[in-house]
């Protein structure tokens, strides 16, 4: 912590860059990644869900959500909403939680995190959720689920005070959206045709590549400064991602004899997710191990857990983000190395209690996200309705909900 708050132009320059990088992860990263995996008649609807989630979150964030998430802590539970609509904040006001950068860029950085978290949920329900229901879901979910959790972990709330470690969002972002995705897709029910093939995997490769690129802003930006910690986070992020891509490819080869591109990019995203909570705490060795292992967990969630329980998580949001996010949060408690960041000491460095704090964080996020997502889904279902008609679903949502189509040929 800096004794006297002074703006640092290096830190500010990096945070401006990092924020723009994270924006790229949603628009168009997630949009393309998901867009390529759906059937051609749903491509525009799928892209639209991500980009509109970004716009809605952007608006509610500056009106009130930022203040309640990151305003002055009230009893560890919620931020003080005194500065609604940025009332009283000038362009020179420094961020209380990152005292070398302006609060404006700090809030924008937190905004792009909130936006991608809710956009990721859309992958579980593509092809059958009413667009109007999504327009209601996004602000409700950000307000009720995301704002409190991000306050507890990052805004000086009770989980942070307890000692839970989540550098860039293994629980706040990934476990959070993975659980919400699971609950929402179970509530919504399976697609009429669950054997739909990806219509354009090239889109998904571009989307995954943009996720990987933007993730440097996500993780290295979470240092909130430009220095050694950000650089270390940058390197371990890349390391874990590469290791996870290779391990998924090996699983593919062992299981079917052939490596697949979709498998490789899925592995990369799992690696990105798993390193996220750990990126500011672990060494390169820790990143290699946790990245290599995470593909196995997500692969089995996809190929064993999903068929066994019969839920239709269309684009495997739970398997990728929920499961790798959970593993990343646990791995942070195992591998956090004090020589990387004195704020985190894991089990392997003599602090078994860290695992307890990680488990409390994980349990809290699962319960809060799962419970409230169910309530939100129920309320929307009884008012607007959640699911499109069978005819609309079979014909595709681009023409039936938006009166446009992605392809003329």
């Amino acid at each position: 912590m800096v004794a006297t708050a002074v703006l640092n132009s290096g830190d500010t320059a990096w945070m401006l860059t990092a924020t723009a990088l994270v924006m790229l992860m949603t628009v168009p990263g997630v949009a393309l990644y998901y867009g390529g995996l759906v059937k051609r008649e749903n491509v525009l609807n799928t892209l639209f869900m991500s980009i509109i989630a970004f716009a809605i979150t952007s608006v509610i964030w500056v009106i009130y959500a930022y203040q309640f998430a990151f305003g002055t802590d009230v009893n560890g539970l919620i931020g003080n909403g005194a500065n609604i609509l940025f009332f009283g904040i000038t362009s020179n006001t420094l961020a209380p939680l990152a005292p070398t950068i302006p609060v404006t860029i700090y809030s924008a950085f937190e905004l792009v995190f909130a936006a991608i978290t809710v956009a990721l949920i859309s992958g579980a329900v593509v092809g059958r959720l009413k667009f109007k229901a999504w327009l209601a879901f996004v602000p409700l979910w950000i307000t009720i689920v995301y704002v409190p959790i991000s306050h507890w972990v990052w805004g000086g709330g009770w989980l942070a005070k307890l000692g839970a470690l989540d550098f860039a969002g293994g629980t706040v972002v990934h476990l959070d959206c993975g659980i919400a995705a699971l609950v929402l897709c179970i509530y919504l029910g399976a697609r009429k045709d669950t054997k739909l093939l990806p219509h354009h995997l090239g889109y998904s490769v571009i989307g995954a590549a943009l996720l990987w690129f933007g993730w440097f802003g996500f993780n290295a930006g979470s240092a909130l400064t430009a220095g050694g910690l950000a650089s270390s986070a940058f390197l371990v992020t890349n390391t874990a991602t590469a290791a996870a891509m290779i391990s998924w490819m090996l699983i593919d080869i062992i299981k079917t004899g052939k490596p697949t591109v979709l498998g490789a990019i899925t592995g990369a995203v799992c690696g990105l997710v798993a390193i996220t909570p750990a990126s500011g705490y672990v060494s390169v060795e820790g990143a290699l191990i946790l990245g290599f292992i995470t593909s196995f967990f997500s692969y089995y969630a996809m190929t064993w857990l999903k068929p066994r329980f019969g839920y239709d998580d269309s684009l495997d949001v739970f398997a990728v983000h929920g499961v790798s996010g959970l593993w990343g949060a646990l791995a942070t408690g195992l591998f956090a190395a004090p020589f990387i960041n004195p704020a985190g000491v894991g089990l392997f460095y003599g602090n078994p209690m860290q695992m307890v704090w990680q488990l409390i964080d994980i349990g809290t996020v699962i319960a809060w996200s799962g419970g409230w997502t169910l309530v939100i889904a129920f309320v929307i279902d009884k008012t607007i309705g959640l699911r499109v008609t069978d005819d609309e679903e079979l014909e595709g949502l681009d023409t039936t909900l938006h009166e446009e189509s992605g392809y003329r040929i």
């Binding site: 093939l197 498998g263 899925t266």
Partner: protein
């Protein structure tokens, strides 16, 4: 006059076109089609789950030739389009009653 309809692998189209050109068989109509045979398609694997692709992309050639040319044309298509693996396709041959060249109104074998 006979109509030869050949369903072949799309990847073999260029070779077959060249082979037909080499024996002075010039007129062909090509369409991209989908179909399946006895094996009911193939299986593809996405994220560890198997998906059956039950209609595969194929290329359909229509060629109208004089009776005497049928054997040579068919032999050439078989020779060039054959890989020996499942999915090489089929050739159908049927009789044609009449042919009209629209530009001149000519009929019959002259119009082929």
């Amino acid at each position: 006059m006979k109509e030869i309809i050949a369903i072949i692998r799309p990847s073999k189209l260029d070779e077959v076109k060249q082979a037909l050109e080499d024996i002075k068989c010039h007129g062909i109509t090509v369409t991209e089609v989908k179909g399946r045979g006895r094996q009911l398609g193939i299986t593809e694997s996405y994220r560890g789950s198997d998906y059956r692709i039950d209609l595969l992309p194929k290329t359909r050639l229509e060629i109208i030739v004089q009776d005497a040319e049928v054997k040579e044309v068919v032999d050439n298509i078989v020779k060039t389009a054959q890989t020996g693996d499942i999915g090489d396709g089929k050739i159908f041959i049927s009789s044609v009653e009449d042919v009209v060249r629209i530009r001149t109104g000519e009929r019959g074998e002259k119009a082929v």
